[in-house]
C-alpha cells in the first residue's frame, strides 16, 4: 500500500514563448487529490489545465509553489506517474507489443516476466491479434488503447490523462469511457483527467475541478461521485443531468471569456 495523495500548493506558472510576451498561464492553484480518486480538471481551452498536468508529471519545472506526491516534492518525470496524451504519442517504429514492452524493459525484470505482463495488458485492452501491428495500421481508438496499456505496463500508482479521448469520434469515445472505467475497476489508480467536455468529466470523475479562463485558477470543485456509482449506471439519472447543468453553468462564462480573448 503506497500513499499516492497529490497536493498542489500555491502553484503559478508563466509561459514564455520564444517570441513575444510572457503569459501567466496558472495563478495560485491549490488542490488536493485523494488516493485512488478520479479527479477531472475541466476548463476552456487555454486555461492551463494541461500545463497543470505537465507540472504534476514533472515535464515542466515548478517555478512558483509546490507540488507533492505522497508527501515528496515533484522534481521530474517518474514511473510512479504514468501519462496518456491526446494524440497517443505511440512510437510508430515499434509494434503494439514493443510499445507496451518499452517501459517494462526499463525495469529489472526477467524477459519471460516482461512478455507475460505485456500479453496480459494486450488482453486487458482487447488488442489480441494486433500484437505485431504497427500504430499506423490501427484506428484511433485502438491506438489510444495501446497507449493506455503502455502506461499501465509499469503499474504507475497515478494515471495522468491529457484529453485522452479528444481525438476520437463520439462512438469510440463512449466505448473508451466504458473501457477506462473497467480498467481502473480492475487496477485501481489515482487518476487526474484533463478535459473540456463537461459530460465526460461528470460521467467519469469522482470530483470535477472547474478552472477559470487564463490565467487558470481553480474556480470550484464539484463532487460528482454519485455514492460511488460511475459511468452508464448514472448517465440517465436526473442527478447526473443536474450536475452537468450546474458545471456547464460554471464553465460557460469562462469559455466565452476564453473565446473573446482569442478573437481580439
Amino acid at each position: 500500500m503506497t500513499a499516492t495523495g497529490i497536493s498542489f500548493r500555491g502553484v503559478s506558472h508563466t509561459y514564455r514563448p520564444p517570441r513575444g510576451q510572457p503569459v501567466l498561464a496558472l495563478q495560485d492553484v491549490s488542490l488536493e487529490v485523494r488516493e485512488r480518486e478520479f479527479l477531472a480538471l475541466l476548463g476552456p481551452s487555454g486555461c492551463g489545465k494541461s500545463t497543470l498536468l505537465y507540472l504534476l508529471g514533472g515535464f515542466l519545472p515548478v517555478e512558483t509553489g509546490e507540488i507533492t506526491v505522497a508527501a515528496k516534492r515533484v522534481a521530474g518525470p517518474g514511473p510512479d506517474r504514468g501519462i496518456v496524451f491526446q494524440n497517443f504519442a505511440l512510437y510508430p517504429w515499434k509494434t503494439v507489443r514493443q510499445n507496451i514492452l518499452y517501459g517494462l524493459e526499463k525495469q529489472r525484470l526477467p524477459r519471460a516476466e516482461r512478455e507475460r505482463r505485456a500479453q496480459e495488458l494486450v488482453e486487458l485492452v482487447h488488442l489480441r491479434g494486433f500484437e505485431n501491428s504497427y500504430p499506423a495500421q490501427l484506428s484511433g481508438g485502438m491506438k489510444q488503447r495501446v497507449a493506455i496499456a503502455r502506461t499501465l505496463a509499469v503499474d504507475p500508482a497515478i494515471l495522468l490523462m491529457d484529453e485522452p479521448f479528444g481525438a476520437l469520434d463520439a462512438q469510440t469515445r463512449a466505448l473508451m469511457h466504458e473501457e477506462l472505467l473497467a480498467i481502473i475497476r480492475r487496477r485501481p489508480k489515482t487518476v487526474v483527467f484533463v478535459t473540456h467536455d463537461v459530460r465526460e468529466a461528470v460521467y467519469l470523475a469522482d470530483r470535477v475541478a472547474v478552472m477559470s479562463a487564463r490565467p487558470g485558477r481553480i474556480k470550484e470543485i464539484v463532487d460528482t461521485s454519485f455514492a460511488g456509482e460511475r459511468g452508464a449506471e448514472i448517465a440517465g439519472t436526473h442527478a447526473f443531468a443536474e450536475k452537468v447543468e450546474h458545471i456547464w453553468g460554471l464553465v460557460r462564462n469562462e469559455a466565452i471569456l476564453a473565446q473573446e480573448r482569442r478573437e481580439p
Binding site: P77, G78, N87, A89, W93, G103, Y134, P156
Partner: protein
Amino acid sequence: MAGVSAIGQALLRWASILGVLALWQGFAEAHVVSAFLLPAFSTVVVRLYHDVVSGDVILGIALTLYRAFAGFALAAVAGIAIGVMIARVPPMRWFFDPLVSIGLPMPKIAFLPVFILWFGVFDASKILMVAFSAVFPVVVSAWAAADGVEHVLLWSALSLGASRAQLLWEIALPSSLPQIFTGLQVAMPIALIVEIISEMAMGGEGLGGSIMTDMRFADSPGVFAGILAIAIVGAGLVRAMELIRRRLLVWHAEASAA
C-alpha cells in the same frame, strides 16, 4: 489504368527509354553522322559486353563504388552527427547555420583543385571530395528531423523510465529516421556524380577515369559504353536505396500505403 495488364504497364514505363534507344539505333544506322561521332547502340552494347567479360568495367565499377561509398559513409555519419548537434546545442547552431546556408546551394566541386592540393590525386582526395559534397543534404535533413521530434514522445519515454542518453538513441533517432533517410537518398546520387567528375578531372581509373582514357584514344564506342555503365549503376543505386528504405521503414505510413 483499367484494362492495361501488368506487363503492359511495365512496357509503358520503359517505352520512353526504349523509344530513345530505338531512335539512337535508327539514326546511327542511317549514317547521317559518322560512327565515330555516334556509334550504334548495338555496337555500344557489344562493347560493354566485352568490357564486362574482360573484367575492365567490373574493376571500374568496383573502384568507383568503393570511393563513392566511402565518401557517402563519411558524409552520412558526420552529417547525422552535425545535424543532430545543430538541433540540440545552441552554440553549434550559431556556428553551423550560416555555413550551411552558404554551403548547401554552392557547387562543392569548385573545391576540387584545393582538395587535390591538400590531399593529392589518389583515393583520399576523391573520397573527401565526395564526402564534402554529400554531407550537406544529410546535415539539413538530420537537423530538421531532430528539430521536429515530438516532445510528447520524449516525455512519455521519460515517464516510462528512460534516461537522457536513451532518449536520443531509442526515441529521437528512430523517430527521425524517415526524414534522415530522405537526406541520404538525396546524398547518394550526389556521391556518385562527384566521384565520377573527380575521376574525370584527376584520373585514377574508375568509370569516370576510363571514359576519359577512352576519349584520349579516340575510342568512341568505349566512351559510350562507359556512359551506359554509369547510367545502369546510378539507376541501380537509386533503386537499392528505395528497397532499403522500404525494408527499414516498414512501420512508416508511406510503406503500408504502398
